[in-house]
């Protein structure tokens, strides 16, 4: 019995792992892992660093490059890896594989554990590439040629694997909770990741304090003085870091037990949904693609399959007496009806939004007028709220499998234009309150920035959706942009919320942002044109 269970578990995990690793996109994720490794072990004269030991970095030997890449892996693969691995249960749902599996004796726990294992294998393969990159960079940087496999790999086991296990488990968990299956899950994970970082100095689930203490001790022992804080995360330093020698972390029993607990918690988190997982019972699966549907990627919506009787329907055979030639003549025009196309695109974007969504949007706008100050918080809230709707620009036809049907329709570029206009209209409507506030306060410069924001948000969404053919990239990137802007990084402020000492927008000018928006839209049209030519 146990052997059978193990066979089923391994069978699910390996089949799923093979399916994912044989896609071209997998090579892109491995390339990203290589890039991450390069960032973690930068050239000696680089002022961009990921691990800063108070103005110092370790000699590039096995202990330092292993620890730096392992910590960076835990930090970034937790975020990016989640979006890479999520969607496996939904894929079984959409392809019908789930229906086949549902007819087997496979238990819910086995299935979920198999998916967890598959997720972990994918992420572990990325971590493996990261470790190989670390070794390659250690040799390439030429500061130490000593082969220290234990010193290089131990930090991955200690810091990276438990984080990847939690990420793998969360990806499974989110797919079993209907509201989290789609774009909302992508947003929630970003918030979870951000919260964990803020609560643990950049290493999810702790451990950085032990590493920092060990490094500090080595720095002091070598008669050096730390010139700043220890930090993890991509930062720019004033001058290249100075070098000290570090033998690596000797983990305490407490640290190891703590990481083991994280690992076990991940396993429990992965199989917990066995309590409610629907096991591909179609009658229990339905809902909106944005708020309750698929993985938030192309093809992420539930397939339409619910049989339904036609009220008042009559026998179809009686209609055979009607002749097609007697129907109203409907000739195709030389130009599509742009106005009605925009209306159609707006309907497609918003038809599945629940009433409470509109009520929240209305509340934010009313509050912006009532509060009476052109504050950033309400504009931010008003323009973060529709992120899942914008993220469908450029992808909604893929999401619902309409690409083949629409492929035979004329006016491909007109459709893209209509989507953009619909996106701009939605953006403007969702933040009309803050605009009114600015105009009432005579803040014409900020109103111009608002207009630029209303152009750039749908343009960015349309471009990213068209290029990547998935809404996930915009969902994550847009939140990163807002996160930076709210932390007053002026270069990321596309809506005029970061103010200088004189109370004027400190970010790029409204003209520059508007120009960038139009360039993005033109790029989306060009990409769509190329996609069409390569059909």
């Amino acid at each position: 019995m146990t052997a059978l269970l193990g066979t089923a578990l391994w069978g699910i995990a390996v089949a799923d792992f093979r399916e994912r690793t044989r896609r071209p996109a997998y090579l892109v994720t491995l390339a990203a892992a290589v890039g991450l490794g390069w960032l973690a072990v930068p050239p000696a004269d680089s002022v961009w660093v990921i691990l800063d030991a108070g103005g110092y970095r370790g000699l590039y030997d096995g202990a330092w490059v292993g620890t730096a890449t392992a910590l960076a892996g835990g930090l970034w693969l937790m975020l990016g890896g989640f979006y890479v691995v999520r969607g496996t249960v939904t894929r079984d749902r959409l392809t019908g594989v789930g229906q086949v599996l549902a007819g087997t004796p496979m238990s819910r726990t086995t299935y979920l554990a198999g998916k967890f294992l598959s997720n972990l294998l994918v992420l572990a393969s990325m971590a493996g590439v990261l470790a190989l990159t670390a070794l390659g960079l250690q040799i390439a940087r030429g500061e130490s040629y000593a082969m220290e496999p234990v010193a290089l790999l131990a930090p991955f086991v200690l810091f990276t694997v438990p984080v990847l296990a939690v990420t793998s488990a969360a990806a499974v968990l989110f797919e079993t909770i209907r509201p989290l299956r789609a774009g909302l899950g992508n947003i929630v994970w970003f918030v979870v990741w951000m919260s964990l970082l803020l609560g643990s100095s950049g290493v999810p689930f702790g451990g950085f304090d032990a590493v920092a203490a060990s490094m500090q001790s080595s720095v002091v022992e070598q008669g050096l003085t730390p010139a700043g804080e220890f930090s993890l995360g991509l930062t720019e330093v004033g001058e290249p870091l100075r070098v000290f020698d570090w033998d690596g972390l000797v983990p305490s029993a407490g640290l190891m037990v703590g990481r083991l607990v994280v690992l076990l918690a991940a396993v429990l988190l992965a199989v917990l949904p066995a309590l409610w997982f629907d096991r591909f019972d179609a009658s229990r699966a339905a809902g909106s693609p944005v708020f309750a549907g698929g993985a938030g990627g192309a093809g992420g919506a539930e397939p339409v399959r619910t049989p339904a009787p036609v009220p008042g329907g009559r026998a179809a055979g009686t209609a055979s007496a009607v002749s097609v030639d007697s129907m109203t003549s409907a000739r195709t025009g030389t130009r599509p009806g742009l106005g009605r196309m925009v209306a159609g695109e707006l309907r497609v974007l918003t038809s599945d939004l629940p009433r409470w969504w509109w009520l929240v949007a209305l509340g934010l706008n009313v509050a912006a007028v009532v509060v009476g100050e052109p504050g950033t918080a309400l504009l931010a809230a008003a323009w973060i709220w529709p992120v899942l709707v914008w993220s469908r620009l450029g992808t909604q036809h893929l999401e619902h499998g309409l690409d083949t049907l629409l492929g035979a329709y004329p006016g491909t570029l007109h459709r893209v234009t209509a989507q953009w206009v619909a996106g701009v209209a939605l953006t403007a409507v969702t933040a009309v309150g803050p605009l009114a506030n600015m105009l009432l306060a005579g803040e014409s410069v900020r109103a111009a920035h608002w207009a630029a924001g209303a152009l750039v948000i749908p343009s960015l969404a349309l471009l990213l959706g068209t290029v990547t053919r998935t809404p996930r990239v915009f969902q994550v990137l847009y939140l990163v942009v807002w996160y930076m802007a709210l932390n007053e990084v002026a270069g990321f402020d596309l809506m005029g919320i970061v103010l200088d000492g004189a109370g004027r927008p400190a970010g790029p000018s409204a003209v520059v942002v508007s120009g960038a928006a139009l360039c993005m839209t033109a790029a989306a049209l060009a990409v769509r044109r190329v996609q069409h030519l390569r059909r």
């Binding site: 009220p311 329907g313 179809a316 209609a319 097609v324 129907m327 000739r331 499998g401 004329p410």
Partner: protein, 298 residues
């Protein structure tokens, strides 16, 4: 009569070297052509090429003599296409979905409204026209697909496995519709069900392995299997031997043994009786290489 749609020496090769379509030439004028072939024969790839959804790897697609590969919009404006698999926006009603597609095609609002109402009526969807498509059955969605293909007055109608999911009555409605349309339009009907084609097509093409094997009138295609179809009642053990040597197109268990219909160049067993072939026999004969095809492919 001048052909309206021409596929000239069309080929489609996918990554990995798979030849889905190989050097197919079809010149099509008004009338209904039934494209038959087993699964994987290349029918759907050819349909997508004819509908401008996919570019051929080589060859030409001409619409009224103009290149429809480089400039597809002229054909698209006069095209109705029903793919084998297609999606819908599940939260729109049939009327809203068809209105959206009518706008994409540039049909005027008033004409679109009237046409959509009539199509929903003909396809027995009027009662469900305001319900979200997500609540439709597979057969109802297929009828919505047919409706979108007929949104305009298409000069070329390409329908790929249109009867999948339809009940017998709805199949009759569809056949009558297609037959009506074929009076003065090009209708290309792709299917792997020979009986769907037999009752409406004036022209039949059979594909297998990506190539066009046969094209002709139903009579010409039937003639390919003339003298090669036999019926006989045999015991179970003889049936096994027959299966190994010949194509069995039908078998029915009777008290006297198994009544079978066999494709064979000569009598497969001593008391086999020759019978007139039907379209399914001819199709199987072509696909399995039994047919004498000389002079039939046009």
């Amino acid at each position: 009569m001048e052909p309206v749609l021409e596929l000239v020496d069309v080929a489609k090769r996918y990554r990995g070297g798979l030849h889905a379509v190989d050097a197919v030439t079809l010149r099509l004028g008004p009338g209904l052509i039934g494209l038959l072939g087993p699964n994987g024969a290349g029918k759907s790839s050819l349909m997508r090429i004819a509908a401008t959804v996919t570019r051929p790897s080589s060859g030409q697609v001409l619409f009224d003599g103009a290149d429809a590969v480089r400039r597809p919009d002229a054909l698209r404006r006069r095209l109705g296409y029903l793919p084998q698999d297609f999606g819908v926006y599940p939260h729109l009603s049939a009327s809203e979905f068809l209105s959206y597609l009518a706008a994409v095609k540039g049909v005027g609002a008033r004409a679109a409204r009237a046409r959509i109402g009539e199509l929903l009526e003909i396809l027995d969807l009027a009662g469900a026209g305001r319900r979200p498509l997500g609540a439709y059955s597979g057969g109802m969605l297929r009828r919505v697909g047919i409706a979108q293909a007929l949104l305009t007055d298409p000069q070329v109608l390409v329908v790929d496995e249109p009867s999948a999911g339809l009940d017998p009555e709805q199949r009759v409605v569809l056949r009558n519709l297609l037959s009506d349309l074929a009076t003065d339009r090009v209708v290309v009907l792709s299917t792997h069900i020979a009986s769907d084609v037999g009752s409406v097509a004036s022209d039949i093409a059979i594909m297998s392995g990506g190539r066009l094997r046969v094209r002709g009138t139903p009579e010409e295609v039937l003639r390919l299997a003339q003298g090669q179809v036999w019926e006989v009642t045999v015991p179970a053990e003889t049936l096994q031997i027959l299966r190994q040597r010949h194509v069995i197109s039908k078998q029915v268990r009777t008290p006297a043994g198994m009544r079978v219909r066999v494709l064979a160049p000569s009598a497969p067993v001593a008391d086999a009786v020759p019978v007139a072939p039907d379209l399914e026999d001819a199709y199987l004969a072509v696909v399995h290489g039994h047919a004498a095809t000389a002079g039939v492919v046009r």
